[in-house]
């Protein structure tokens, strides 16, 4: 076990946990956007800033990428931390000014408006969708492309995401509503990935509930595939 200090209190943590995880486990609030408990740490939104003192050196850093280490002293509420978070939040708000989740977070920090002209397409480049697709689903349908100010999320060649199975994980995890999914008859559309998928209807209730691509993906990936008629019924009717 590792022992560390957060805001003058001592905490214990398991090897491999990050400062952010230890804080959240213990009910200490640190604002964050690109962190998700089931995904690898990314450190892109820069919101979860804390000050860490280690070997008598204090640095401002993101808590989601900093491993919990023995003896480190973490401060989550110094003037420097607050200043950094506020300004980063203002930058994030300029990227997705209409997203309720971003607005709420900004408001909590006392930011009502950004001084910058909204530059955005509503995507804050947090990479949750990309990591979810890679790490949770394993479909590798979308990726970050280009760099610097041009960086964006898109399918290969900015064409239809051929690997997308329409599972909707990216849609659910997106904090700004940048990605959306539409159901039209027996089709599911994810406009951002230029993807349209044929859906299978439940044999009992008739509701389209899973794409054929997802069924094929599951049958291919899973070690012990379910019986062939498993996907005849939706989860409600099964």
């Amino acid at each position: 076990m590792i022992t560390l200090w957060i805001d003058d209190k001592q905490y214990e943590a398991a090897e491999g946990r990050t400062i952010l995880q230890v804080a959240l486990d213990n009910g200490i609030q640190i604002p964050h956007l690109c962190y998700h408990e089931n995904l690898s740490s990314f450190g892109g939104c820069r919101l979860c800033q804390v000050e860490v003192t280690r070997d008598n050196k204090t640095v401002l850093t993101t808590s989601c990428t900093y491993p919990a280490m023995d003896g480190i002293i973490v401060r989550t509420d110094t003037p420097k931390v607050k200043k950094a978070r506020r300004f980063v939040m203002e930058l994030l708000l300029s990227l997705a000014p209409d997203a309720p989740k971003i607005q709420d977070l900004a408001q909590e920090m006392g930011i009502v408006a950004t001084r910058f002209t909204p530059a955005g397409d509503n995507c804050i480049r947090c990479g949750l969708c990309v990591r979810a697709c890679d790490e949770l689903v394993g479909a590798h349908a979308i990726t970050f492309a280009h760099r610097g100010a041009q960086r964006m999320v898109e399918p290969p060649f900015a064409e239809e995401a051929e690997n997308c199975i329409g599972c909707g994980t990216c849609v659910q995890i997106c904090p700004t509503g940048f990605i959306s999914m539409e159901e039209q008859g027996m089709e599911r559309k994810i406009g951002k990935w230029k993807r349209t998928l044929k859906m299978k209807a439940c044999a009992k209730c008739g509701r389209p509930f899973i794409s054929f691509a997802e069924i094929a993906f599951i049958m291919d990936k899973v070690k012990n595939p379910p019986p062939a008629d498993w996907f005849d019924y939706c989860s409600d009717c099964r």
């Binding site: 890679d134 590798h140 349908a141 979308i142 990726t143 970050f144 492309a145 280009h146 760099r147 399918p155 290969p156 060649f157 690997n163």
Partner: protein, 151 residues
């Protein structure tokens, strides 16, 4: 690009996925761009997701997903060239060719690119045209350069 040629490149680097950048650069050198089919082939052979190859292809300046013109003009916009007027040369070329950096003329004759530094700073401003360096360039010399390089 033929499958045989791709195989040769893959084998040159022992089909080692960590050598992906060397492979991409070899394809780029040969084809002057990265054909989609080549990326798909590499993805299958090396077991790397196509998304990763696409990310690399768009991340690096030297890799391109669109074919280049027959004559490739690189304008150095390094600091030494900048303070000696690289901007003026770039503007003149943009005007002359009616394209922006990163684009190809409709007749496929020229492609125009900027490069951060060619490491020939003492010659600034510098152009690299079809692998040949043109030092101490000025907007006045552009016409003769274009003439010479397209011969």
């Amino acid at each position: 690009m033929k499958e045989k040629e791709l195989e040769n490149i893959i084998n040159k680097y022992r089909a080692d996925p960590t050598e992906i950048m060397n492979m991409l650069l070899d394809i780029q050198e040969k084809e002057k761009f990265l054909p989609k089919t080549a990326l798909s082939y590499l993805s299958g052979k090396l077991g790397l997701p196509l998304t990763r190859l696409y990310q690399m292809a768009t991340f690096y300046e030297a890799l391109s997903l669109t074919p280049s013109g027959r004559n490739q003009i690189h304008v150095c916009t390094g600091t030494a060239c900048h303070v000696r007027g690289a901007d003026g040369i770039l503007n003149k070329l943009e005007q002359k060719l009616s394209i922006k950096p990163g684009q190809v003329t409709p007749d496929q004759k020229f492609s125009l690119k900027t490069v951060n530094c060619l490491g020939a700073c003492a010659l600034g401003p510098v152009l690299l045209v079809n692998g040949e360096y043109y030092g101490h360039m000025s907007a006045l010399k552009i016409d003769s350069m274009l003439q010479r390089s397209s011969e």
